[in-house]
Symmetry: C2
Subunit: 248 residues, 2 copies
């Protein structure tokens, strides 16, 4: 059997794209994780390109998670992305034992984003509990979540708790309900100011938004909108939580 | 039970962020899908902001899938994102009956990206079949895929076919193997030139990269790297393919 050369990559590539490949190889061979890159002027001179071309290549490498650019620090070589399990196979409510999320606080409100109200099928004026939770991986915040639960779904209708106690009360009441199932969507978004601050990013930074709809008693009983850092995270979906398919 | 105002959004937001919200409301009320926006100068004048601020807000709206900016056309109001099922629960090889992907062609090569070689545990020089497939949703290309299958995995070791016939032969041979399971990761990437052309995007445009590892006979038998348009797609993960949890 002959080995042909691959014909799949014949499209002409723009200049910054070639530079990106060259830079990527230089990152592998000459730089270590966390190291600060030379400034743009020096880099442009070294590779013989215009500053604008260099900047485009750096933006691509940032989008791909190879570089991090932070105000006051400069451009550093990013560590490999962290795999964060999202587990669609796991059949539990948020807040169940073994959950990686930390409840922070909660509020009652009658104003939720239109997209969430559509999923929850709530009417204007309906009271919804909003629980804020954070997820930390390897010591760093990787995701922020707002969990929306209509008040009428909860059996005890959350006593007059506030703050962290309120968050725990809502999660505890959810566990008492029958969970019929859930589904998820993943899409690209931009970090809201509040999430950006928590995730140590600038507002508007690209994030992966995971929306989970929990169904109980024939209705959507809760909606979780989770915002993951897109630069440092890979979301992983396995068939089994406890038994990885292969060790590697 | 009193309804408090939400305290979750107290961080100060930058100017373009406020503008983004205002623009987003204007899109809802004054524009229809596909409509071309006024030019930047007119928009900046109308909202009383600097061009740079306007541009930042437009970039955010593009990232969120509300606007599309295309060379020679201008900025148009984007249709809602299309939900594209990724189905981690589905326990079949690529190319099984009911698959939404169209095989295009295939090549044999001994050069695969380092990340793919690591997953496949192939050695330098090992021959790998690379099958290109496209996915179309509602008449539009939404994703491009490269499916990597080490030659030694396939029982018939693909006869001397080329092009589309080669692609079909590899997929047919996969169906004869026992599938132990698969897992997936989703991450942000930037479109390679080849994928960008197929997806009608510029090279470097943000994409969602889904990497699926198929396990058979105790080894990774195939790796699929699927690139979805991030501006027009929401990836959906359900517990069941045939029975949506709720009609909505």
């Amino acid at each position: 059997m002959g080995v042909g050369t691959t014909q799949l990559e014949t499209a002409p590539e723009p200049k910054y794209w070639h530079l990106k490949t060259v830079l990527s190889e230089a990152l592998d061979s000459e730089f270590s994780v966390g190291e600060i890159l030379p400034n743009e002027r020096d880099l442009a001179a070294r590779f013989g390109v215009a500053r604008a071309t260099l900047r485009q290549a750096l933006e691509q490498l940032e989008l791909e998670g190879r570089l991090q650019r932070r105000r006051g620090v400069g451009t550093t070589v990013a560590p490999p992305r962290v795999g964060v399990a999202v587990d669609p196979a796991r059949h539990t409510w948020p807040g169940a034992t073994g959950d990686d999320w930390q409840p922070v606080d909660a509020v009652r409100t009658d104003r939720v984003p239109a997209a969430v109200a559509r999923l929850l099928e709530t009417a204007p004026g309906d009271v919804v509990h909003v629980v804020r939770r954070n997820r930390v991986s390897v010591g760093r915040p990787v995701a922020a979540e707002l969990l929306y639960v209509p008040s009428e779904v909860l059996p005890g209708d959350a006593e007059s708790t506030t703050g962290p106690a309120h968050a725990h009360a809502v999660l505890a009441e959810l566990q008492t309900l029958e969970l019929d199932g859930h589904d998820r969507t993943v899409e690209l978004g931009s970090a809201r100011a509040e999430d950006a601050r928590l995730l140590d990013r600038l507002p508007g930074a690209p994030v992966l938004v995971v929306t989970t709809r929990y169904v109980s008693g024939g209705r959507t009983a809760a909606v979780a909108v989770s915002t993951y850092r897109a630069d440092t995270c890979r979301l992983t979906f396995g068939e089994s939580e406890t038994e990885p398919l292969l060790a590697g």
